[in-house]
């Protein structure tokens, strides 16, 4: 099979559950290499996208390819090239760690013992322990170690740090970032934790309502979002009239505007609206993404 330029490629991908569209015409092309973070509000379609890509849910319309193969026709060999770690870290609880490792070792032709040892070294996991006896963080680490030892071409991590404490989360991220195996494959990292994404991601993909809302490097996205603080002595401009407005707050008599794709002219706009002083500040990725996603978030009609 010829190697595709993209590890993931979807065209007008749609998936409907009942009356609701989980994916609504998603056009996405993720190139090989690097760590790509996929973020989105709950219900944005991230997990559905992974299920469709791995062939566990059929798309309602459109096409989805993973490693150049139609997701509906994945062979066992294709699956061997794709690692997957989900948030539940589901491994058979009654099996010993050594048995799980032995099973995976036999199953994957390109098993990399060094990569496994490199990752599992971050955790205090004993081979004779049963999976059910491991803490959630240790299970996450074991799962990551198993996935990286498979030497996958593509590693999909679906909210892998969900429910982990700060220490376990840090251990997980470090084992991912400093793993040589991870460096050799394309990683799709799905998370709601922006500080994690800020640390690990080279590319940021934002999904909103089942559609691609944004794709760029995280710092590029941060650069698009700016935070303006204006001292407006009266009511200020109508929100509908504020260009690129993502979020508006009034704190201590000051108007805080979070806007998208606005340059210095936005300061002139505020001044034109009566602002006595205007200040522009950069925003963190967390703030930028939150503001971006909150813009179109559902709210009651009265709000």
């Amino acid at each position: 099979m010829s190697e595709s330029e993209y590890v993931i490629e979807t065209t007008a991908l749609r998936k409907r559950y009942g009356r609701k569209w989980a994916l609504d015409g998603l056009d996405l092309a993720i190139p090989r290499g690097r760590i790509h973070a996929i973020v989105g509000a709950n219900g944005a379609g991230k997990s559905t996208l992974f299920r469709v890509l791995l062939g566990f849910t059929p798309p309602t319309a459109g096409s989805a390819c993973i490693l150049g193969r139609d997701s509906r026709c994945l062979t066992p060999a294709d699956r061997g090239r794709i690692g997957f770690v989900n948030e539940e870290h589901t491994l058979p609880a009654w099996v010993r760690v050594e048995a799980v490792v032995r099973m995976q070792r036999r199953l994957y032709a390109r098993w990399n013992e060094g990569a496994f040892a490199e990752v599992i070294g971050h955790y205090h996991v004993l081979p004779e322990q049963r999976v059910g006896q491991l803490s959630r963080g240790e299970r996450a680490g074991l799962n990551l170690a198993l996935a990286l030892a498979q030497s996958p071409e593509l590693l999909v991590l679906d909210e892998p740090t969900l429910g982990l404490d700060v220490v376990a989360k840090r251990a997980f991220l470090e084992s991912l970032m400093y793993s040589s195996a991870a460096a050799r494959c394309t990683v799709i990292y799905c998370s709601h934790q922006m500080e994690e994404i800020e640390r690990v991601a080279d590319n940021l993909v934002i999904l909103e309502h089942g559609r691609l809302a944004h794709m760029s490097a995280p710092e590029d996205f941060c650069a698009r979002v700016t935070h303006w603080v204006a001292d407006v002595p009266f009511k200020g401009p109508q929100p509908a009239g504020v260009p690129g407005l993502l979020q508006l707050q009034r704190l201590d008599g000051l108007h805080h505007y979070l806007v998208l794709d606005q340059d210095e002219t936005f300061g002139d706009f505020l001044r034109g609206c009566g602002a006595r002083s205007v200040q522009c500040m950069p925003v963190s990725l967390d703030r930028a993404v939150n503001g971006f996603l909150a813009k179109n978030h559902a709210a009651p009609a009265a709000a």
Binding site: F56, P58, P76, G80, W94
Partner: protein, 640 residues
């Protein structure tokens, strides 16, 4: 795959060990009390149900734990074909069932064979296999119910029902079990794939799923019919639980005593002597003849319909029939030690067919017992300790039962009723020869009662064929009265057509919903089985369109005739015929009175007048004719 298999074994090993120990404990306990190899069919069915339930629960539990989306993804997203993963999981399940169900049974059979003098035949060694296959079948059905398409999830549970309705025995029964288990395994393999909601696409897979699905709908319909019948019973108008059976019907005939049945039969006779016979019947003793065996017992049948053993109270010995040896094997009731083997005659020849105890006859020495084996009646003599043949029916005709008939002895075969001289019955050395041979005027499977009175020069015999009145494969109920003289000449003196108590719609409910599935079900039940003369019936032709149904609509002149039970189709048909029945005064009357009331138009009323039950229809004019046999409305619905 091997690792998955081992992991799955590991997962449930403790539960399985506990189950196996408990199972073995129950079996050993029961084996201490009774001979488990000689239990009536009900006991085997109870055990079978427990194994089936165990398999079902294992299937539901084991696979349901993998069914959650994240777990399913983790299980199947690996470089292993889904069918191999399925094989690993279900192979482990099958091994666990073998350990929990098959092994304790096998140990019990081995214990019985090695440590006791009880009979353990090949068929008993097959019982653990049968039990394991039952459990495996339901295990796979449970697995499919979890994994299959939501609307078709329960369809797989239909396939094991074939075991309940099937009549196969011995190796054929095992073959049927293997077939069903293989089918269920194929269904599980078809649905065991990443996308559980995707329907199968390959033609073979579609066919494999479609048949149980259609059978499921068919069974659901029959269950619905059963539920409606329960409502009918609750409502109190069901013919079987009504205080008074419908007049002139089969239930009324069944509830009559022998004298009443004979009189009812003679009432339909136009024989010149009928009046005289009626007087005789009113005064004479009426005797009844019945069978003791209702199914043929093939050699090496897995289960007994009844224990195949007889006790010699004098010697304190129990004789048990062995299918392997085709002889009786005895052990002492006092200490359980083996006594020996008992065959036919002095040279202990094997029986020609499996022998079942058949009680005794008046006049036989105390302690003697009778055995029925195929076409022959044997007598076990407690004094001589021998088995000798006492009577043999013609040409291998299976013997259903033997009983005293006044001074004579009657033997009922599947084709004839034989009468023997009772004086010779007590002498065990004499093989009886029939004095009279009366051919049954119908099929044995339809036969419900035989009543007779002795005349000066013979017998007056009534045969009531009402047994299958509510089933499509039997004869419509009727009664025949024969006059038999001592010379063996038989004359039919009356043939009474008995009104069915159920409408054709009820009788053919399992047929009309799907003739094809009915045929399939019948074939699946009967084809693998040994033909059973005890079940032979003379099926009445299925009514396609009643000849009594008028060619013209009773309420308007359009044609073809409508169905009066279904007002909407009737209207539609009228409309399509281009007439307006609403303008017909008869139609308006009919609409006002409701469907199938006593106030119908001319032809219907005329039919009712001709009916034998005018009082009933007058007493409940609004009663639906569903409960009325032979109603033209029902016939019409069937033809529709």
């Amino acid at each position: 795959m091997w690792d998955l298999f081992k992991a799955e074994l590991l997962r449930l090993r403790l539960w399985t060990a506990a189950y196996a120990l408990a199972h073995l404990g129950v079996l050993v306990f029961l084996a201490r009390l009774v001979d488990l190899a000689q239990q009536p069919l009900l006991v085997y069915r109870v055990f079978g149900c427990v194994y089936a339930l165990s398999g079902l629960l294992l299937g539901l539990y084991q696979i349901a734990t993998y069914r959650r989306p994240a777990t399913w993804l983790q299980l199947l997203h690996r470089p292993l074909a889904p069918w191999r993963i399925a094989l690993a999981l279900h192979g482990a399940g099958a091994v666990l069932l073998l350990a929990g169900i098959g092994l304790p049974l096998l140990l019990t059979a081995a214990g019985q064979a090695l440590l006791t003098a009880r009979v353990v035949d090949v068929r008993h060694w097959l019982l653990p296999v049968a039990a394991w296959l039952i459990a495996c079948g339901l295990y796979l059905a449970g697995s499919y119910a979890v994994l299959g398409l939501r609307r078709a999830a329960l369809a797989a549970l239909v396939l094991p029902l074939i075991w309940l309705t099937g009549q196969a025995s011995g190796a054929a029964a095992i073959a049927m079990q293997v077939l069903v288990v293989a089918w269920l395994a194929a269904l599980v393999l078809i649905v065991f794939k990443p996308d559980l909601e995707a329907p199968p696409r390959r033609p073979l897979a579609v066919a494999a799923l479609a048949l149980p699905l259609q059978l499921g709908v068919y069974v659901a319909f029959l269950v619905l019919c059963f539920a409606l019948e329960m409502l009918w019973i609750v409502q109190g108008s069901h013919p079987l639980n009504a205080v008074t059976a419908p007049a002139g019907g089969a239930i009324e005939t069944d509830r009559m005593d022998g004298r009443q049945r004979l009189l009812a039969g003679l009432a339909a006779s136009d024989d010149p002597q009928a009046a005289l016979w009626r007087e005789q019947v009113a005064l004479a003793d009426v005797l009844s003849v019945g069978g003791q065996i209702d199914r043929v017992l093939p050699r090496q049948a897995l289960t007994n319909r009844a224990p195949m053993e007889l006790d010699d109270a004098e010697r304190r010995v129990r004789w048990v029939f062995s299918h392997d040896r085709m002889r009786l094997e005895g052990y002492r009731l006092t200490d359980g030690s083996r006594v020996g083997e008992l065959g036919v005659g002095g040279d202990a020849a094997p029986f020609a067919a499996p022998a079942l105890p058949a009680g005794t006859l008046p006049g036989l020495p105390r302690g003697d017992a009778l055995l029925i084996a195929g076409d022959t009646l044997y007598q076990y003599g407690s004094e001589t300790g021998r088995v000798s043949p006492r009577l043999r029916l013609d040409a291998g005709e299976p013997l259903a039962g033997v009983q005293p008939l006044g001074d004579a002895v009657a033997a009922l075969g599947t084709q004839h009723l034989y009468v023997y001289d009772g004086r010779d019955a007590a002498d065990a050395t004499i093989v009886l020869t029939p004095r009279l041979r009366i051919a049954l005027p119908g099929a044995y499977g339809d036969l419900a009662a035989i009543d007779l009175v002795e005349r000066v020069d013979g017998y007056l015999v009534s045969f009531a064929f009402t047994a299958q009145q509510s089933r499509p494969h039997g004869a419509l109920p009727y009664q025949v009265v024969l006059a038999v003289d001592d010379g063996g000449r038989v004359r039919t003196v009356a043939r009474r057509t008995i009104a069915p108590d159920f409408p054709a719609l009820y009788r053919y409910r399992s047929w009309w919903f799907s003739p094809a599935l009915y045929a399939l079900r019948t074939a699946a039940a009967e084809r693998p089985a040994v033909p059973d003369p005890f079940q032979a019936t003379e099926a009445a032709p299925i009514p396609r369109r009643s000849s009594r149904w008028p060619s013209r609509c009773p309420c308007c002149p359009c044609s073809p005739a409508p169905c009066c039970c279904a007002i909407v189709p009737c209207r539609r048909r009228h409309a399509s015929a281009g007439c307006s029945p609403a303008r017909s005064s008869a139609f308006r009357r009919w609409s006002r009175s409701g469907c199938c009331t006593g106030r119908t138009s001319g032809p219907t009323r005329q039919r009712r007048r001709m009916s034998r039950r005018p009082d009933r229809s007058r007493a409940s004019p609004r009663r639906c004719d569903l409960a009325r046999p032979s109603s033209p409305e029902v016939s019409c619905m069937v033809s529709v």
